[in-house]
Amino acid sequence: MKKTLFSILVVLSIAPVIACGAQKDAAKIAVASNSKDAASSISNKAEKCLYYLIFNGTDELIEVVSNPYKDVQSEAGSQTADFLANKGVTVVVAETFSEKMIEAMRSNSTDYFQLQGVVHDAVKMVLSPGNQILVKLDRNLNPESYESYRKLINIEPNGRKREYVLFTVKKGGDKVAALFLSPASEKGRSSLRLDENMWLYIPNVGKPIRITSLQSVVGGVFNNSDILRLDYAAEYFVEKMEDPNDKEELSDRYILHLKAKTKTVAYDKLKMWVDKDKVLPTKIECLTEASMLIKTIYFKETKDFGDKIVRPSIIETDSPLYKGYKSVMIFAKLKKRTFKDEVFTLTFMPNLESLRQ
């Protein structure tokens, strides 16, 4: 009986990996390049590259196609995306994509990776099951463009609490803005992040000033990059994935070891525990390059926010650097919403309140 149960558990636990493997076989990866050689560099513009090198799910170069829209002045991004989708491409890799190309790829259900370096290395990285899981986890946590309300609670060792309420808007992989609604001393403050650029605006006082990702706007354990978080896959790639089936208490988890894509990312490394079934994080350790623990983030209380958004509604954080202190983030009214790019600009920062409906 025990053996049967154990066998069922093993089969269940490896099922998602098998599924991933099946996905890999079906994968068709197109990498933007200005050369026909897989050892060349990835092109910095998806819609303007000379060639697309197409690989199958087993890392084989199966086709090289010229980009027919490289010289087109308008709509090049959406036409390129449709062209690749018609060729059966499931994943596109380039250093950057235009917003229009991203939109077209999304409507075609084509995944995309923004990567630098050599074409062949990028294909290997994309095919790693860890990165596939990370992309899915990002989409499960929130839609690419959304609005939400969050309450931040800083809890001191003596139990005293300090609360902040924020309205947050996000678009695509690199644009996010947050507006403080309370307490009164912070009301109207807003922060904006465009990729690695961050600004803080304090009403009545001054113009938006540049801030850094490691600073904390509100004090407590959360810093700016936690409050204005981009997709994990936009900032990190999976270096290693553990599937600890041998440890019973971890058999329903993957452990992903993430490394920052650039030096400007707030944490050099992340160790992420992922629920295999829901593909959602349960715990993340934020580490320095030397693997020193900076903070631990716990994801709790998975809730249905509607419109197929099912994700943890509470995030708790503690840190060995702030012994006894804890910060909590509670999510509410998370919903899909599209915004114009102009919302995510320095000039618009004083007007963020006007987006609330």
């Binding site: 309300y149 307490p183 650029n197 509410a332 000039t347």
Partner: protein
């Protein structure tokens, strides 16, 4: 329909109750959007001045009074910030009231800092009509390109300031590629009787504009002002992150035909007209231990030369001697008013260095920020040093203890101020 409404209400209630049952709660009424908002702060700020009886400005301001060695001042301030939103239109007013008790008795002043209507038909365009502050420039302590703003106090850069009556709009456009954002802010500024009359020459309609670019990862502004109330001027500024913990910024202002009035030690008034080029360079650096350093160098070509300031202080001494011997204070009154009082304004000379170091939450004491601000006059080598403690750990209450000590040789800017030091407590309650 009613059934759906009932289900929706039930779901919302159950969500609220579910959260309430947790250790943490998030009452959704906290995020309800209300058209009318009234906020602001109340402030009590007692100040103690340690007087320097031998200084030029003490002689100038207190020549006919004996106030002892220490002056007390009690300031009460209320700042009311109200807004009303309907559709794409918003009305906003900020009213500041200062009530002061000093050696001169009680005084009260109520000022409309801002009062404007804002139309926002889209996220790419807005139009503001009324009194508002524009806050141009990238510097922390000084903004030579802030052509339409009242000057900042470098010793308290976060003080709210009064605006001017303007018609302004913002047009914003975002792009893919190296140029990520472009925005254009044209401004019309009338200067007539009772409208912006303290800005410059009367009966003029001034035009100003700012174009902003986010190019690669650098903020860049180009600014101009023309129209006659002040001479035509051009400006540019930039700000960028070199690394994630190091930001640099700068400003450049070119002022055509700038007119400066100054006096010699006999009190003879001179006028000088020239094209003035002012500039500022600065950086903001965050260490791993969360100390933030802000360093700025400012060259103000509209400021007084060291010899001109020395002449001014000599003239005050001469006026004071005349007053002591004859009781005639006319020279002292002339000294007070010369050049529109610009000799006695903030940082009236040409070259300054600003350094502010602040430490976030030392020894893990949450919400406590000690800081030290130094302003160094490079021309006469006098200095102002201000240690400060800010505590924000009580909900909606800020407590700040600030001291300022002034050092320098005689006939230097900071040594000739009315006081040697000042101690100030600020208690501010936000509502």
């Amino acid at each position: 329909m009613k059934l759906w409404a009932a289900i929706g209400t039930l779901l919302a209630l159950s969500y609220g109750m579910a959260l309430a049952n947790e250790e943490y709660s998030f009452d959704l009424s906290e995020i309800e959007e209300k058209p009318l908002h009234i906020g602001g702060y109340l402030e009590f700020r007692p100040v103690l001045f340690g007087l320097d009886k031998g200084s030029a400005l003490h002689k100038l301001k207190l020549y006919d009074r004996d106030e002892g060695n220490i002056l007390e001042e009690y300031n009460f301030t209320s700042l009311l910030d109200g807004s009303y939103k309907k559709g794409t239109t918003e009305f906003r007013a900020i009213v500041n009231t200062d009530l002061k008790n000093s050696y001169l008795g009680w005084s009260e002043e109520t000022t409309l800092y801002e009062g404007y209507m804002s139309l926002r038909p889209s996220s790419a365009f807005n139009l503001d009509i009324g009194k508002k502050t524009l806050k141009w420039g990238k510097g922390y302590a000084w903004n030579p390109v802030a052509f339409l703003d009242r000057p900042k106090d470098p010793e308290d850069t976060e003080l709210a300031r009064e605006g001017f009556v303007v018609v302004s709009s913002d047009y914003i456009q975002s792009f893919d590629g190296p140029l990520k954002t472009f925005s254009f802010t044209p401004v019309l500024m009338p200067v007539y009787d009772h409208i912006n009359e303290d800005f410059g020459k009367n009966n003029r309609l001034n035009f100003a504009g700012k174009t902003y670019f986010l190019l690669y990862d650098t903020d860049i502004d180009f600014i101009y002002l023309t129209g006659g109330s002040k001479t035509t001027r051009y400006g540019a500024d930039f700000s960028m992150n070199i690394t994630s913990n190091l930001e640099i910024h700068g400003e450049l202002a070119l002022i055509n035909d700038y007119k400066r009035r100054f006096i010699n030690s006999d009190g003879t008034v001179f006028n000088k007209e020239y094209d003035a080029t002012s500039y500022l360079f600065g950086l903001r650096y965050l260490t791993k231990s969360e100390t933030t350093y802000i360093l700025e160098y400012f060259h103000d070509a509209t400021g007084f030369a060291e010899s001109e300031m020395t002449d001014y202080f000599s003239f005050i001494d001469k006026g004071y001697d005349t007053y002591l011997t004859s009781g005639d204070d006319s020279l002292l009154k002339e000294a007070s008013n010369v050049a529109g009082g610009s000799y006695n304004g903030r940082n009236p000379m040409r070259d300054y260095l600003y350094l502010r170091a602040s430490q976030k939450e030392p020894f893990n004491i949450l919400y406590l920020t000690p800081s030290l601000t130094g302003i160094f006059n490079i021309n006469d080598k006098s200095v102002s040093i201000g240690p400060e403690l800010l505590y924000t750990g009580l909900k909606n209450l800020d407590l700040r203890l600030k001291t300022t000590f002034l050092f320098g040789d005689s006939y230097t800017e900071f040594a000739e101020k009315q006081n040697d030091y000042r101690i100030e407590l600020r208690v501010r309650y936000y509502f």
